[in-house]
């Protein structure tokens, strides 16, 4: 065991001084050099304000668009360069188009074995009479899922940007937004009483018949959304809020997206392993055929309709 030195003897050794210098715990100038008493540096308010004032004056002189010659020259140069660039782009694109294969020719490279497979085996493998719907909801179902998510994300972003606060500027703007609008217009209400049920029925027909005739989730959803917008315009906000509130929107879009996701995840297991997914395909031509396509069309249609309606309501009034 080593003998420990007492404290006063240790403080006289070189090792103690070395380690104290290394750790920096003692100020080397204090007590060794003559210094004035230290005060904290305070900046005067007026000096600070002068600094800010100078910065602002400098910036407004630099970016003064009317008198600064360099900025005016840049604007003119920008316009000239933009026109030249666009003319050059047009010439280049037309030059490329002239070398493409003829429109409507049957032997172009885009008509290879992939569309041949979709057309020849489409009816047997998907059960849908409409080949395009069968393709986007069965062969390429993940693209449609991604696109429904894009719609959902866009709606959420518009909700964040345009949501009006209750006791802010929003209320005054809402009232002044409708100063010049005729309320309870008789012609519009009479027309809407006849048209809105027909439009909704037509939209539902398009969605349900997606696999048998042209249409599908996107078209039908857009038509249903347009019908809801007409109802809102004719009858005011209070009546429509009984039908469609924020809770309805949340539940509808969430359940539609989750159903789509869960319904199509079987193909993770059956696709690459070449297994049979035992979903009944039914007789083509009947409405209850083609496996899961009817369910997926309904999900996509609901998401699209809610999206269109939400965009419009957010733009008119900031709230649901």
């Amino acid at each position: 065991m080593s003998r420990l030195k007492p404290r006063e003897e240790y403080e006289k050794t070189r090792a103690f001084r070395f380690f104290r210098w290394l750790s920096g715990s003692k100020d080397p100038y204090l007590g060794e050099v003559e210094m004035k008493p230290q005060e904290e540096w305070k900046e005067e308010e007026s000096v600070h304000l002068d600094h800010i004032h100078d910065h602002q004056a400098l910036r407004s002189r630099i970016y003064d668009t009317e008198h600064n010659k360099k900025i005016l020259f840049f604007y003119k140069l920008y316009k000239l360069a933009a026109v030249l660039f666009c003319v050059g782009l047009a010439a280049l694109l037309l030059y490329t188009v002239s070398y493409l294969p003829k429109t409507g020719a049957a032997d172009r490279p885009a008509n290879n074995e992939v569309p041949a497979r979709y057309i020849e085996k489409g009816l047997q493998e998907t059960g849908a009479v409409n080949i395009v719907t069968g393709m986007i909801l069965d062969y390429r179902a993940f693209d449609t899922f991604g696109e429904s998510n894009v719609l959902f994300v866009a709606t959420v972003t518009v909700l964040i940007l345009l949501h009006a606060k209750k006791n802010g500027k929003g209320e005054e703007e809402q009232e002044n937004d409708r100063i010049f609008e005729p309320k309870n217009d008789a012609i519009l209400q009479a027309g809407a009483t006849i048209l809105v049920p027909v439009i909704m029925l037509f939209g539902v027909y398009i969605v349900l018949n997606g696999h048998l005739s042209p249409g599908g989730g996107f078209s039908g959803g857009a038509v249903i959304g347009a019908g809801l917008i007409l109802y809102l315009n004719a009858f005011g906000f209070k009546k429509t809020e009984k039908l469609f509130t924020e809770k309805v929107y949340k539940w509808v879009s969430f359940s539609a997206l989750t159903t789509y996701c869960l319904a199509k995840s079987y193909s993770f297991f059956t696709g690459a392993n070449h297994l049979e997914s035992h979903i009944p395909l039914g007789t083509p031509g009947h409405i209850l055929s083609s496996g899961l396509i009817l369910l997926l069309n309904i999900c996509v249609g609901m998401v699209v309709a809610c999206t269109m309606y939400t965009f419009y309501v957010m733009f008119r009034k900031g709230d649901f």
């Binding site: 409409n130 395009v132 719907t133 005054e172 703007e173 002044n176 937004d177 100063i179 010049f180 398009i206 042209p214 249409g215 599908g216 996107f218 078209s219 857009a222 038509v223 959304g225 347009a226 917008i229 269109m308 965009f311 419009y312 733009f315 008119r316």
Partner: protein, 97 residues
């Protein structure tokens, strides 16, 4: 059909150019709406009815409606400031009297 398609496409180009050169914003949006509608007819000529229904409902319907709603919000804000100015002038006149 070729002549019909050529006429429709010429109309498309004319619509696009005049939508960029008009001074009134409302006129621009209306011309864009008709551009969208003629595109919808072109989709039928190109044998894709799904696209025609979707473009008619979405392009000539919802997009143009959103443009109108935006223009109304912007002008609504302008109208609100003018209404405030008128009210202030009336108050000044009353206090002057």
């Amino acid at each position: 059909m070729t002549v019909f398609q050529l006429m429709l496409m010429t109309f498309l180009i004319v619509c696009a150019v005049s939508a960029s050169f008009s001074k009134n914003l409302l006129n621009s949006v209306l011309i864009y709406m008709s551009f969208s509608l003629v595109m919808s007819i072109l989709w039928v000529c190109l044998e894709s009815p799904d696209l025609a229904i979707t473009e008619a409902a979405v392009g000539a319907g919802v997009t143009s409606l959103l443009f109108f709603a935006t223009l109304k919000k912007i002008r609504g804000i302008v109208i609100e400031r003018e209404v405030e100015k008128q009210e202030r002038e009336k108050e000044k006149e009353k206090s002057d009297e």
